[in-house]
Structures are given as C-alpha cells and as structure tokens.
C-alpha cells in the first residue's frame, strides 16, 4: 500500500526534516563551530577550550554544575524512590492525595521554586524575619545548599512518577517466586524487583540530571554568584562589556556534550536491561507494624508538604501587601493591580506564544508520530533522534544558537516574537511526538486497514479513525507541552526583546528588582495557567492516561 511515491507523507517527512534542521540542528552546529572560532572569526583548534580549562573562573562552572547535578540526582532518586515504594507497597492513608500532590509539585517552573525559598528563607524572608524577632538565625539559603534543595524538591516527582508506574507493573508472582526459592525480603527486592524497575529509575535519574544541568533560573536566583554552565554561558553571551559568543558557545558545547552523553548512556543501559513484564496481579500491599506505619506516613507527608511549599508560598504571598522584597501580614490585591498596570503585555505574550507553540507542536507532532509508528525507515529513525535532541539540549544553548543563526541575513528574526515561538515550538516538540508514538504503537494497525478495505482512502482513514483514537495522547502531549512552555525562562531570557517579554522574564526581572509582590502575583498566574489544562486532561482521561508520557 505504501509506495515510495512523493505522497503527502513524503512531504511531511521533508517538512519535519527542514524544520528540525533549520531550528535545531543548524543552530546547534553553529554553536559547536563558534566554539572553535577565535578573534576575527578565524578557525582555532582549541583556544577557547584551553582558556576554559585553564582559568578557574571558567572551569569552576563545569565542576559546580556536575557536582550539583550529581548530588541533586542522587537526592531526587532517593526521595522519589522511597516515596514511590511507600505509596505503592504499604497501606498508607490518603494515597491519592500523596500522588496528586507530588504531581502538583511539577507544575511550578523551577526558578519560581527557587524564588519561593528566597521569599521564605532569604535575607528579607518571612521565616527569617519571624525568627529574627527572637534573635535566631538560620544558615543561609543562598549558594549551593539552596540550589540543591530547590533541585531535589523540584525534580524528585519525576523519579516518583516513573518508579511508581514501574512498581505497579511488577507482578506479585515475581516476588512470590523469589521468596519461595528462599530469598529473604531484602535480597528479593534487590535481586528480583529492583532490576525490573531499574530502566524506569534510571530514566527518572536522567530526567533530573539533564534538567538540573540545564536549569538557568534557579542558580541565578538563589545561587548568589555561584557559576554553573548555563549561568556563566548567559553571562558570557549577554555581557555589558561586549559579549563573548565564542566562549558562550564553548560553554554551550560542553553542556551539549554532558547532556547527550548522559542521555545516550541511559538509553544504552535501558535498552539492554528493558524487560517485557506482563502484570496480571500487581504487587500486594505489605503489612506494617503501627510504629513503622506511623513513621512511614510522617515521612511521606513531610516530603509532599515540602514539595508543596513553593506553590503555596507563591500563591499566599501574592495576596500579601508588600514593599520591595518585604511582605507584611494582611490581605491585599495590590500586587495583582500592579501587574495588570505594569506588565499586561507580558501576560498576553505568554498566553498567545504558548498557545501557538503548542498548536504547532501538536500539528507536526501528530504527523511525525504517525510516520515514526507506521512508516518507520532509517530516515525516520534519524528524524526521531534529531527531535529527541531537543529534549537533551538546555534552553540557554538553543537560545544562543537561534540568536547566532538568525541575527544575520538571509533571515533576521532576533527582536521579533517569531524567534521566541521557534524556540518554544522546537524545544517542546518531543512531548506530543512521544505521547502520540506510544499511543499509535498500541493502536492495532489493522483497525486502519479495516477502514481502508471498507473504501476509505488512507488519508481520510487517518482523519476519521487514527486521529480520534489518538485523541488521549494528543491531549496529554498538548498538556505537557503547554505546562513546560508557559514557564520557560532559559531561552526566553535570551530571545525576548522590548515588547516581547514573557511572564517568566517579567517574574525574573521583578525578582531582581526586589519587587517580590508582583513577582508572586505573576508566578501565581503562571502556576494556575499550567495547572488548568493538566487538571482538565485528568478529568477527561483519568490519571493513568494523562501520565502515560
């Protein structure tokens, strides 16, 4: 049926390749090439890298980044796995609440989490001032401790979600078999259950590692000058004394190297260790003594409470009267009135650009997913790999790449809203592609063939049968794209100009101008805007389907 003709799907393949190459591969390649460029644009072999690795000012950034990301990944894996085990394996009260709360923690963008900890424990923070009246002082929240705290609190839900899904797919018979063969419970967990959930666990760890490596806002807000790769890269690129694109590109190339290495290592591992598990009877809940049950309950609720602190703080503080960074007790809509005066444009920009980007992501994502699932060829495997690249590349790097490519003829896009849209679109394209490909693999191709044999040509079959069946995946892909796009900071901060600031940029500048009240109000709107589509998706599809990513 599928000829090698230049049909509609051939055009989609070409279009997808052009898009990915123009907006992702070419910019990234330019970043790599620029990192090998010296003064007067001459090619230099490794001058920039030599400078990087011989000056402490530069090389400390990669040490800091690797150190923070490794510790954060370890922390998130420990907390996330422990919580998953507690919720899936033991009879704790309020499991739905625990699960929902852990999901909600993913809603606020990380830099807003960082900001919320500053609101509480910063120099002018609510808790610090309260304790100060008693003459007490807490250790500083600024610096690497704060970053680590934010990272773990922000990202452990990734591990929690993936590991609990994996645990729910383990059949009780596996544990029974190991126990009946004389393996004690601890050993059984280590030798029979852990290997089965290991691919999901490492996938969670990878997500945490890549996200923390890429995180720009958190170290900027709470790091107080601690240099990480993204912040130094930003600093080198946007420098009042004249930017240094070559050094910024060198930092960007190192980021690409670290993240793609991590990605490939995990893929290689998971590919070799992935097992097909058929779960007929899920793992049974294990009985607990009252003491242990109480301890475990306290642990689980504490974790979730800490995870909810950022959003709660933001929302509560947005309704407090403020002066600069200082917040007073009381209820006030002052902050909201201010933002609708000062930055209405940023709010509109955010919603319009996010909606456009998600729409484009869905359009191309659905078509590409169909190609990947139904017409797989080497060409499409390459396309898949290129699109997934967006997953691993930090926003700062994408931003720099887009600027370097599109600030000179033939196509000048810097200073326009289009360049923001391109970044949002290309960076979040993997979500609908993933969700829709996974869904298509579950839809029997014979359903489509039945339609064709009944007289409906292939493309109309795609519209009448395939699209309706893919609907849940389209919805969840859109919700995830929306959620991650709306608070995007790391490329927006580079790409915005003048009237095209977004809410995330506005929050960032408000925080740096010590306008905490307006920052909180904007952040609350952002959290609400991220929450509503996810909530609706839940309502339409149910929890399981919405999290099928």
């Amino acid at each position: 049926m599928a000829g090698r003709r230049r049909d509609f799907w051939w055009s989609v393949t070409v279009l997808a390749f052009l898009t990915v190459v123009a907006f992702l591969v070419y910019p990234l390649a330019t970043v790599l090439v620029t990192s090998f460029t010296g003064e007067e644009k001459r090619f230099v072999l490794a001058d920039n890298y030599q400078r990087f690795f011989t000056h402490r000012y530069y090389y400390s950034s990669i040490i800091n980044s690797l150190y923070l990301s490794t510790l954060a990944t370890l922390g998130a894996v420990l907390v996330g796995t422990a919580l998953a085990l507690a919720v899936v394996r033991y009879p704790l009260p309020g499991k739905t609440f625990l699960r929902t709360a852990a999901n909600l923690a993913l809603l606020s963008p990380p830099f807003i989490g960082a900001y919320s900890w500053v609101v509480l424990f910063g120099r002018m923070g609510l808790v610090n001032r309260l304790l100060g009246t008693f003459g007490w002082e807490l250790p500083t929240i600024y610096g690497w401790r704060g970053i680590l705290l934010v990272f773990i609190v922000q990202y452990f839900p990734f591990v929690f979600l993936l590991v609990s899904a994996a645990l729910r797919s383990v059949d009780q018979s596996i544990e029974d078999a190991a126990l009946s063969l004389g393996s004690p419970p601890r050993r059984t967990f280590r030798t029979a259950i852990l290997p089965v959930i290991a691919p999901s666990l490492t996938a969670g760890a990878l997500l945490v590692f890549m996200a923390t490596m890429a995180d720009f806002g958190t170290p900027m807000i709470i790091g107080e000058g601690l240099r990480t790769l993204p912040t130094l890269m930003y600093g080198e690129f946007i420098n009042e004394l004249g930017g240094n694109p070559a050094m910024a590109s060198t930092l960007g190339s190192l980021l690409i190297l670290v993240n793609t290495t991590a990605l490939m290592a995990q893929r290689y591992y998971a590919f070799r260790k992935a097992y097909n598990v058929v779960c007929i009877q899920p793992l049974k809940l294990q009985p607990l003594s009252p003491g242990k049950k109480a301890a475990l309950t306290v642990f689980a609720y504490s974790v979730v409470a800490v995870a909810l602190i950022p959003s709660t703080t933001i929302i509560v503080s947005s309704f407090m009267p403020t002066r600069g960074p200082v917040m007073y007790a009381g209820l006030s809509l002052q902050s909201y009135q201010t933002i609708f005066h000062v930055v209405p444009r940023a709010i509109a920009n955010t919603f319009v650009l996010t909606a456009l980007a998600v729409l484009l992501d869905i359009l191309l994502g659905v078509l590409v997913a169909y190609l990947l699932a139904r017409r797989r060829s080497h060409t499409h495997t390459l396309l898949d790999a290129l699109i997934m690249l967006a997953y691993a590349i930090p926003g700062t790097v994408v931003g720099v790449g887009l600027i370097v490519v599109f600030n000179r003829p033939p196509v000048v896009l810097t200073g326009t809203w289009i360049i923001l849209l391109i970044s949002y679109f290309i960076r979040h394209l993997p979500y609908p592609v993933r969700s829709c490909t996974a869904m298509l693999q579950q839809i029997d191709i014979r359903v489509e063939e039945a339609s064709v044999s009944l007289g409906v040509p292939p493309f109309r079959t795609f519209l009448k049968v395939t699209i309706p069946l893919m609907f849940p995946a389209i919805l969840s892909g859109a919700a995830l794209s929306w959620m991650t796009t709306i608070g995007e900071l790391s490329s927006s901060i580079l790409l915005y100009s003048g009237p095209w600031a977004t809410m995330s940029v506005a929050i960032f500048t408000e925080v740096f101008s010590n306008h905490f009240g307006t920052a909180s109000a904007l952040a609350s709107i952002l959290i609400a805007a991220a929450f509503v589509p996810l909530f609706l998706t839940y309502r339409v599809l149910g929890e399981r389907a919405a999290l099928s990513m």
């Binding site: 064709v452 044999s453 049968v465």
Partner: protein, 364 residues
C-alpha cells in the same frame, strides 16, 4: 460472483521471500482456505489479495479485472481480521455503517441495510452499544456484518476465530459458513488450524515456506496427501520407510519390504530396490482385520508404550522397532479393545488405506 485468480505472486521482506511464486484459482462462490503453520505466508498472500500489501511480482484478477494495481479502498472487498479491528470509538451501528458512508449511500438506505446486516449476524438490539460493551463473539459478529454489508466482491478472513473460546469458535464458524453459502460470496479464509480448515472449506490450499504444496477438497487432502508435509499437517500420519520388492497382488499394487521387516502390499509404483515412504492414518490401524475377502490386509506387531483412553477413542503408542513408533486409534472401543502398557499387539490395515508419499525418505 467473483472468480479470483492469482498468478506467480512473489513478496519478499528484505531477502526472505514470504510468498514465493504462488498461483491459485478460487471458484465463484466457494470458501477457499489457506492453511499452514505460522510464517508460511498465508496471511501475506491474503493481504496481497486485499491490496494491503504491494506485491513484488505476479498478478491478481477478480474475474477478468486486473486488481494488483488497484488501491485497497477501491477493490470492494470485505476483510475480517484476526483481532476484530473494530473501530473502538464508534458504536456498533456506526461500525457497520462505516463502509456504506464511504460509498455515500443515502441515510435511509444505510439505516435499512445496517438493520438487515445486524439481523443477519444476530446483533439486533445491540446496535447502539460501544464495542467495549460487547463480548468477543459479539465483536466478531459486528466485524462480519461490517464486511458483508458493503456487498463486497470478495470476503477475506484472517484467522477470524483465533481469539474466541472453543465453544464460540464452533458457533461463529457455523454462522460464517451459513452466511457465506446463503450470500454465495466468494471467500478466502486463512487459518493455522487444520481442523477448522477441514470443517469450513470447499477447497483447501496447504502452504509452507511461501509456497502452496497442495490444493484440493478437504477429503482429498486427508486421504491422498501429496507429500509428507501435507500428510503431517492435515491430521496425524504414521510415516514408515521401506523398499519396493516387486509387483504386488492386484492392479496398481507393489509389494514392499518395510525397514522393520514386515512385507506389505500397497498402492504405489516403483522398481525393485527403490525406497518408499508409506503413510497410514492412526484410525486405519485396527486390532482385527475386517472388510470383504477381496481386500488385502497388512499387519505389523509391536509393544504398547502409552495408552490414552478418551471414551469414544482409545489411543495407543506402539513401538514396532528401534526408533519406529506408530499411533493407533481404536474408535468405539469395547472391553476387549483395552490393553495396557507393555502388551504386545498385532495391528491390521487395509492395503487401500496406505498412502505412498513421494519424496526421499528423511535421513535417519
């Protein structure tokens, strides 16, 4: 009614030929079954006839019309898939109406035809249900109605019963057969189940490794298998080796010295010294010779190694010689027919019941 002619069909996946030069002719109105083990190319061949796969070489004709260049949605065929391929987002009614809507039938015609089709497959009253609310058997009926309602030139069925339990399988099988006969619709049916093939077909083609080995009526394949593979695949066959000694008693018979020492009369040709492979069905091996006086009876002796008593049948495994075992099924056994492991038995069979299987005997 449609006559289907496929000639020289070849389909490769990579370097391996899935269908390797198949030619077949399906008579108008008959139920033609492709049967074979998994991977033999039967489903590939069906999908080529449906137009869901492009062929690498060969032609497909429905009557005089060349079909192999016609896209599947213009072929006007009904396809019933193994796992139903029901549209899960449409009601039963919408599922059945799907092909009619594609053909732009007016709404009232669609309503009438859907009602008729639903009645035909005994689904009245369920037309407003969603597929998820139906049992497997009901889903299969929906798919059958959906394929029949468009009045296709040809009905193609790919293992339509394999997802059903044993009882439903027989019910739906009977329904398919009745409808197919009543509507006189040419049908190509794919199955790996030889019993199903025997039960449902007008004509059977046995496939192996991309080729058709034998085509015939069910009883022809069973009684006169053309080769060792067909003999083994359709039913059970005891296969024994021997050499021709000379002409036998009676026309068309030769005398054969079996490798384990017995001397038999069988229907075969061959020159003295030539090796022959003899096939005997288990139910042909009897405890006592019977028939009229003119029939020649052969015998063999052995020791029972296994007994399976099933009520209407008792099945013996009998060791005739080192590495030579046969199966015998005694139907309607009485007390005298019951023996135990270790007993020695003499078994008899009519010379006309032994089949000479062509092809070199397999090396020991």
């Amino acid at each position: 009614m449609t006559r289907v002619r496929a000639e020289g069909i070849v389909k490769r996946f990579g370097d391996t030929p899935a269908v390797d030069g198949v030619t077949l002719e399906v008579q108008p109105g008959e139920l033609f079954t492709l049967v074979g083990p998994s991977g033999c190319g039967k489903t590939t061949l069906l999908r080529i006839i449906a137009g869901l796969l492009e062929l690498d070489a060969g032609t497909v004709r429905f009557n005089e019309d060349r079909m192999d260049e016609v896209p599947p949605y213009l072929r006007n065929i009904g396809v019933v898939f193994q796992n139903y391929a029901i549209f899960p987002h449409l009601t039963v009614r919408e599922n059945i109406a799907y092909g009619l809507k594609a053909r732009r039938f007016p709404a009232d015609r669609i309503a009438t035809k859907v009602a008729e089709a639903a009645k035909l497959v005994q689904l009245e009253g369920l037309v407003d249900r969603m597929p998820a609310q139906l049992s497997g058997g009901q889903q299969q009926r929906v798919v059958l109605a959906r394929a029949l309602v468009i009045e296709p030139r040809l009905l193609l069925m790919d293992e339509p019963l394999s997802n059903l339990d044993a009882k439903l399988r027989i019910q739906i099988r009977a329904l398919i057969r009745t409808l197919q006969r009543e509507l006189r619709i040419t049908t190509i049916y794919v199955t790996h189940d030889q019993e199903e093939a025997l039960a449902i077909s007008d004509t059977i083609a046995v496939m192996d490794r991309g080729r058709i080995l034998q085509v015939g009526k069910p009883w022809e394949l069973y009684l006169q298998p053309g080769n060792r593979f067909v003999a083994d695949f359709i039913g059970t066959m005891n296969v024994l080796q021997g050499r021709v000694e000379g002409s036998g008693q009676g026309p068309g018979r030769v005398s054969v010295l079996m490798d384990f020492g017995e001397r038999w009369q069988v229907q075969a040709t061959g020159v003295p010294g030539q090796p022959v492979t003899i096939g005997i069905r288990p139910e042909s091996l009897q405890l006592l010779p019977g028939g009229n006086g003119t029939e020649a009876w052969n015998s063999l002796q052995g020791t029972i190694t296994e007994v399976v008593y099933l009520g209407p049948v008792v099945r013996y495994q009998i060791r005739v010689a080192e590495e030579v075992d046969v199966t015998s099924e005694i139907h309607n056994p009485d007390f005298s027919a019951i023996h135990a492991v270790g007993d020695r038995l003499t078994l008899w069979f009519a010379a006309s019941r032994a089949v000479a299987l062509p092809g070199e005997p397999e090396p020991a």
